[in-house]
């Protein structure tokens, strides 16, 4: 293991004190003079034609300053899929049709929230209700009513993956099994309901402070929706209260808020209610997965075939990526010679589904890792041994898809087994107690250019000042995952300065260079590489100036502890501030500022690197009540070189928490397209009392593509939790539940079916 001075240290995050003291300003905390408050009128119908909208009464209400409907917009659709424009399918305000309960119909700006709310009640909309299509399988049938007129059979996106020959693989297998799995709709439920504040200047330029994970894509899409030039729209991310994918895109309310600000000439703020955050944002895709797998008697994996139907909801959102990754992830963990996948994402009259933490991963891993456990038991092979026998190894190619460089999966399996005394305990615990294992992997950001940007995915600028301070400008958005801290650590390490010498300006399209945003665990890896590239360039410029003064060749110079010296010869040296001063003087006082970038060019179509994880769950199941209690989760995680181990642990613990909710309690319940549980009382995320002990085992590998060997951290850990728990439940009571969440009702039903006479 390499020794670093800043990387690998458990440093408190740079923004934590501001958050701890209540000084951190989130979008809803911002105020501007003469600011108005905006509200959105949403569709009460899952599917209906808009016949007429009458806003006259609302406009006449004292205190109302503007009302907008689809007619006030440019009437152009927006969306992130600039690489496939047929997928750009959402209007800022519905033009002719509403497609889910919550679809945006009109928006109001008024002097306060109450008045805006009251005005919504005065807007009269005449609808012609249409047949709502809520089941994706029914929506795919020929002749089903269309949700988007131009989309046949309501299939938003289909994706096929094939390598080897599955028929031959199954024919050569000694053992083949098929299973069906069903995955529920999960809500993102960030603690911060989203908000934005829009303001135009005298020249017609817009600034919007908004709860977003992706300032640059929002800037581009917002400009297009408003008919402005991208350079005339500035998107600033204030502190963000959790994203997990929920705040990844431009949302209609941001366009409405901007329109209202434009129309009134005053700043306008909009804040989602908690109910809106649940029911008018995005969800994790519900999915039905059919999975067929073939093995040799000795446990060698021969072939896999999968079919997935994704409940897409009303709009495309980030669904196509989920459709792809839901097929890709079946290939990642184990050496697989033959594979075939077909995935269909289907429109329904429900809130749009999108990419949520563990994007397109939690669903296939639940299916694959639960089935792996069934296979192990059928073949009489220990579940860890079966996985080890087939486990992905470093530097392997997955045909047509990607290359896996570093891979610590086998070590994760071995270590998590040792730590939990697996071999002594599996199948040997007292009745009602069980232990189960599951694995997963995760990409380090995407390689595919869905946004069709001409710019590198990550850019960074670094300015060195002659007082020894260094400022990093990065478009990458810290959404609570700690990326700003990690980027400062990477910069300090490469530049040989102290962590406290570095500060960061981030996520503001007016002042920071382009970054494609925070999604798919890409920031540490991709933005980290951009920052490191900038730091290397800065050193090059400094060394060129300093070398003659130290009687050395620039290539022989190094910097550590804020001193530049020739390698292997600590003296003479030059302090960093002095070197910056010299560089400025050599360039007639020009500030010393450099840029760096990273783009995953030639890295396949998925990602440049992958993390791996193995989780062991220990559970107690009450056969009388069906209640499942998780006692402990042991997580062995290969995230390459952890840049900040304390942050990595935090990401792992948070992912495990989300996975626990997915496994046992979380589910969007809806009837006729309406979400019935859009509150924290009825939508149950685990509380501090529900959380088991979490034990984390670091498996350190050196990822050649990553900054200082780092790669994806934490996100991958959400996926194996549910299958590990399901497998532990089987170990405890001998029944399988193959649809999530595993509620007491489902456990009792499975027990009754297993023992019909008891």
């Amino acid at each position: 293991m390499k020794e670093y001075s800043v990387v690998g240290k458990r440093l408190p995050r740079i923004d934590s004190p501001a958050k701890a003291m209540g000084q951190a300003k989130y979008a809803a905390d911002l105020v501007l003079p003469r600011m108005l408050h905006g509200k959105v009128l949403r569709s009460p119908h899952p599917h209906a034609r808009i016949l007429n909208i009458d806003t006259s009464q609302a406009e006449g209400l004292p205190g109302v300053k503007a009302v907008v409907t689809g007619k006030d917009t440019k009437g152009v659709k927006f969306g992130g899929w600039r690489a496939f424009t047929q997928l750009i399918d959402q209007y800022p305000l519905c033009m002719d049709k509403v497609r889910y309960i919550g679809d945006e119909v009109a928006a109001v700006a008024a002097v306060d929230e109450d008045t805006a709310e009251e005005a919504l009640d005065l807007i009269r909309v005449d609808y012609e209700p249409l047949q709502a299509i809520l089941d994706p399988e029914a929506a795919m049938k020929e002749g089903a009513p269309r949700i988007h007129e131009e989309v046949e059979r309501n299939i938003c996106w289909s994706r096929f993956i094939e390598f080897g020959n599955v028929e031959e693989g199954f024919a050569r297998s000694d053992y083949v099994r098929e299973d069906n799995f069903s995955l529920q709709t999960q809500a993102y439920a960030p603690t911060e309901p989203r908000a934005c504040l829009a303001s135009f200047d005298h020249a017609g330029r817009l600034t919007i402070w908004t709860s977003t994970q992706c300032p640059y894509p929002v800037q581009c899409q917002l400009a297009a929706a408003l008919g402005l030039r991208e350079g005339d729209v500035r998107v600033v991310q204030p502190f963000l209260g959790g994203g997990f994918g929920a705040k990844f895109e431009l949302f209609p309310y941001e366009v409405c808020c901007s329109l209202l600000a434009q129309k009134t000439g005053r700043p306008v703020k909009m804040m989602y209610t908690r109910q809106e955050e649940f029911s008018a944002s995005r969800t994790r895709h519900a999915m039905k997965i059919w999975l067929k797998t073939g093995f040799k008697k000795d446990g060698t994996l021969m072939a896999r075939q999968a079919r997935a139907v994704l409940d897409g909801g009303a709009y495309t959102s980030f669904g196509p990526t989920v459709t792809f990754t839901a097929g890709f992830f079946h290939t990642l963990l184990y050496r697989l010679p033959n594979y075939k996948y077909e995935g269909y994402r289907v429109f329904t009259n429900k809130p749009p589904s999108s990419g949520m933490r563990g994007i397109g991963a939690v669903q296939p891993f639940f299916a694959g890792e639960t089935q792996m456990d069934m296979v192990a038991r059928d073949l009489g092979i220990d579940p860890i041994e079966l996985r080890l026998k087939n486990a992905r190894q470093p530097n392997e190619v997955i045909p047509k898809l990607t290359t896996v460089n570093s891979c610590g999966l086998s070590e994760c399996l071995t270590k998590v087994g040792e730590s939990t005394r697996w071999h002594e305990r599996q199948s040997k615990l007292p009745p009602g107690r069980g232990i189960g294992i599951a694995c997963a992997g995760q990409q380090s950001g995407g390689a595919f250019n869905w946004f069709r940007t001409r710019l590198a995915f990550s850019n960074a600028r670094v300015r060195a000042n002659d007082d020894g301070t260094v400022v990093l400008f990065a478009g990458a958005a810290d959404i609570g995952q700690g990326s700003s801290t990690v980027l400062c650590q990477i910069l300090a390490e490469e530049l040989g300065v102290r962590f406290e010498d570095v500060s960061i300006v981030a996520a503001d399209t007016g002042t920071t260079p382009v970054d494609i945003g925070t999604w798919g665990s890409r920031v540490t890896f991709q933005a980290g590489n951009a920052v490191r590239a900038a730091a290397i360039e800065l050193k090059k410029q400094l060394f060129a100036v300093v070398a003659p003064k130290l009687n050395a060749d620039p290539v022989d110079l190094d910097i550590k502890d804020r001193k530049i010296f020739a390698k292997g010869r600590p003296e003479p040296s030059m302090p960093f501030p002095e070197a910056v001063t010299a560089a400025q003087a050599a360039n007639k006082g020009k500030i010393l500022e450099v840029a760096g970038s990273y783009h995953p060019e030639g890295k396949g179509i998925v990602s440049p690197a992958y993390s791996f994880v193995a989780v062991v769950a220990e559970v107690e199941v009450d056969r009388e009540t069906g209640q499942v209690k998780v006692d402990r989760l042991t997580v062995a995680h290969d995230c390459g070189q952890p840049i900040n181990p304390m942050s990595v642990e935090g990401q792992v613990e948070g992912s495990v928490h989300m996975g626990l909710g997915y496994a046992l309690t979380e589910q969007v319940v809806s009837e006729k397209g309406e979400m019935l549980n859009p509150s924290f009382l009825d939508y149950r995320i685990p509380t501090a009392l529900d959380m088991p002990e979490v034990k984390i085992i670091e498996v350190i590998t050196d990822e050649p593509e990553g900054p200082f060997g780092a790669k994806e951290a934490g996100e991958g850990c959400v996926a194996p939790v549910a299958p590990a728990i399901a497998n532990a439940i089987y170990d405890a009571i001998g029944v399988r539940v193959k649809d999530l969440p595993i509620t007491p009702e489902k456990v009792l039903k499975a027990l009754r079916e297993a023992q019909p006479n008891s």
């Binding site: 458990r10 408190p12 209540g22 109450d114 209260g241 959790g242 908690r274 948070g654 928490h657 501090a688």
Partner: protein, 163 residues
């Protein structure tokens, strides 16, 4: 829908404010909109997430569930009142140093709930800590480091590190 405003006096973080507020305004709205104390967060407005927690006469209270007019004559402490001249309370320090803060949206409520707990019970068991914060929802941390931070703060406060 303008209601007649009432003049009230609110004691917040040791200062008395004379304010004209409509009687239906919640304490959360008045803290945020009239006094600019935005540390208390509006996470649900329904009393389920506890991001709006403040101390009222030392007790942790959802400020979205009480009317500002009912908070007259009581001692209100918000997160802004816990640090002094930029010096953090041991609970805040422990949250920072233990990595208990990620997105930070639940943090003010979590810290104040912990403050109420430790004031009433300086040496709580882990179960008592978990029970105390069980109404404070966090989507980032899994509560692991939050519980660790509260334990650490309890240790520091017992040995005289009180701010």
């Amino acid at each position: 829908m303008q209601q007649r405003q009432r003049i009230i006096e609110l004691n917040v973080n040791g200062e008395t404010h004379t304010l004209a507020v409509e009687p239906q305004r919640t304490l959360l709205e008045v803290l945020r909109d009239n006094l600019g104390l935005t540390g208390a967060k509006r996470g649900c407005d329904q009393g389920y997430c506890n991001a709006c927690t403040v101390l009222v006469d030392g007790k942790a209270v959802n400020s979205c569930l009480i009317l500002a007019v009912r908070a007259q004559g009581k001692r209100i402490t918000t997160i802004e009142g816990l640090s002094h001249n930029g010096r953090m309370h041991p609970l805040q320090e422990a949250f920072v140093n233990r990595g208990a803060i990620q997105c930070g949206f639940c943090t003010p409520g979590m810290v104040l709930t912990a403050k109420a707990l430790l004031d009433a019970n300086p040496d709580p068991s882990e179960m008592q800590i978990r029970r105390a914060i069980s109404g404070n929802l966090c989507r980032c941390t899994g509560y692991v480091k939050v519980v660790e931070a509260i334990k650490e703060a309890a240790r520091v406060l017992k040995t005289g590190g009180a701010a």
